[in-house]
Symmetry: C2
Subunit: 362 residues, 2 copies
């Protein structure tokens, strides 16, 4: 895989990843782009002990442009997109409307400096866009296994690079798919957030894993995965190195977790055999999702990785894929119980979900 | 306020609350209703240390019926609704499709009995519907202050009754308003969930409050509220006994928290002066919400109350109101960062939110 680092007209980084080692990516970005101005900050929610990002420059972001003006397609004469080249395999670039960025301005304290109650910091970090393919009219589920393997290697490379940024505490590659969950660009793409703090979800899971280790001496993820594999009741597909299953306490009407059998902190630790098997497992899961209602399923795919600087011996790399679709024509909404009290109500049992997914013909 | 307890055709409880002490509510429910069958259970998510409710009988619940068939309107010859009476002030009844109920069946263990990793319990508890008015074509914001006071007293009475149920650990009155957040019935109504566990949100907040007390000797809610009132920068409306403000680390594009100045565990502790002032404060806030985009704002209103059996000295009764609307024509979606990692990205600063809400003419 060949990597070519370039700079966009407004100074943002754009990186080509090509299968063909001989390809040259030197088309300049000739657009007359305004300087990016990023006013990101993070606020501390003292009642919940969590950071919240505030990115007020994002309100004007591009919203579902017509396909002919897609900013993620390769450029041609009619459409000067974010990617100057007339073609690409995979491309990664800094988001034009980032929630977190490296060049954000300092912020004034909300009350007296140093107040823990009303803490506020610049939203330092990085938000990247990952275009999985130059083909606008496809989906991750329709990529070739070879391309999925390449995407996995790009996620891995980005994890390595972003983890080395001194302010970054956690690297989060994810894909949002479908207008139903707010996707504003139809072109197949994902994102990577490099957060300047350990996320609340990961913090909580690691707190539990730590407590579990203190109580039992074992690892929480290992023991959970062993039970799921042993029972098999909720397993969707498994290989020599990976297992995909509906978790025993699934929150979403469609929810699949994919674990490597060997526990590791993050993507950079995957070996060749694990990398080779992943595309087949993941594509199998994604095809089942789309087959469930014979329509493209809106989903979120979220890579759980260890924090960059702590608890790397506790955490377990895995991918969680879930959907808001609860039937062919209805969506799951996060209303009072979920959004107000964090209590999810699932209308379908995990075992029933697993049966439906296993029954899909792929 | 007169309370009349009745029983519906399928055995569920239905309670009338009337302003007029002389009114008689004895119209029988003559519908031929099938027995309610409730298969609720709760599953323990060991990775997140949280319970998830699974209520698989809810898939068939009533979805946006035409107004003439509204199940929350008083009954007439053409429409035998959930409420047999030809009129009512406020009515509370057990949800026909509850997430939690008192007569749920026992469940088999998922793996060996007693496994903490895969714990599963019957979904014991109660889900009630609260109809705020018999008028189908109105909204909470348009209720009279007298009616809002009556609703407050009904929430209080229900909190008292449900807290006395031995299996109940937390009582949660809330209102979901608007199709945009999944409301399936247009008639102005709210719900009350009586959970058999302390909710994750409340658990987390109390853990922080406990730690804060250990570190500083003070109460987290008191100190936060004092700072908000002192600064005034994000205050929307305040009275002698209540203050409504946008929190310093708001997650949602519209978010207002309403606190009584005196800290107390739950609604049953409000005194007469506090009860009298509440309707004016809350109606002011709700009218500003609808004025923001000159259209009914979808919102969730969530009463935070102390657990019924613990930490009552730490907790602080308050109401959180928030919306998914981020502009006149756009919604906030919970995508990868929010749903995957619990990191909210807000596109508007809390101070800007407060300015916009204060500028609404009410």
């Amino acid at each position: 895989m060949k990597k070519t680092v370039t700079t966009m007209a407004d100074g943002r980084e754009l990186i080509y990843y090509d299968e063909d080692e001989s390809v040259v990516r030197d088309t300049p970005d000739l657009r007359d782009l305004p300087e990016t101005s990023t006013s990101s900050e993070i606020r501390y929610d003292v009642l919940r002990d969590e950071w919240v990002a505030v990115a007020s420059h994002r309100q004007g972001r591009t919203f579902m442009p017509p396909a002919a003006e897609c900013p993620l397609c390769p450029s041609d004469e009619a459409n000067q997109s974010e990617i100057p080249s007339p073609d690409y395999d995979i491309v990664v670039f800094e988001n034009r409307f980032p929630s977190l960025a490296s060049d954000v301005a300092e912020v004034e304290p909300l009350v007296e400096p140093g107040s823990k109650l009303f803490a506020r910091r610049p939203g330092v970090g990085r938000c990247e866009v990952v275009c999985f393919t130059s083909d606008h009219n496809t989906a991750f589920a329709d990529l070739s296994p070879e391309r999925v393997r390449m995407v996995l290697d790009v996620w891995t490379e980005r994890t390595k690079v972003l983890s080395a940024m001194p302010e970054v505490e956690q690297v989060f590659p994810f894909e949002n798919r479908g207008e139903e969950i707010g996707v504003t660009l139809a072109h197949p793409h994902g994102q990577i957030y490099a957060y300047p703090f350990v996320t609340p979800r990961t913090t909580r899971m690691l707190d539990n894993a730590r407590q579990y280790r203190e109580t039992t001496g074992g690892n929480l993820y290992d023991d959970m995965l062993a039970l799921e594999r042993e029972s098999g009741r909720r397993v969707i597909v498994s290989g020599e190195y990976w297992t995909a299953f509906v978790p025993a306490a699934a929150r979403w009407p469609v929810e699949v977790h994919i674990y490597p059998h060997r526990r590791m902190p993050d993507l950079t630790d995957l070996n060749e055999a694990e990398r080779s098997e992943f595309p087949g497992i993941y594509l199998d899961v994604l095809k089942r999702l789309d087959g469930l209602y014979d329509q493209p399923l809106p989903y979120i795919a979220a890579w759980h990785q260890a924090p960059t600087h702590r608890d790397r011996d506790l955490a377990a790399l895995h991918l969680e894929v879930f959907s808001v679709r609860r039937s062919a024509d209805k969506l799951k909404y996060l209303a009072g119980s979920e959004s107000g009290m964090d209590v999810f109500i699932n209308d379908i049992t995990p075992e029933n979900q697993a049966d439906l997914l296993r029954a899909v013909d792929v």
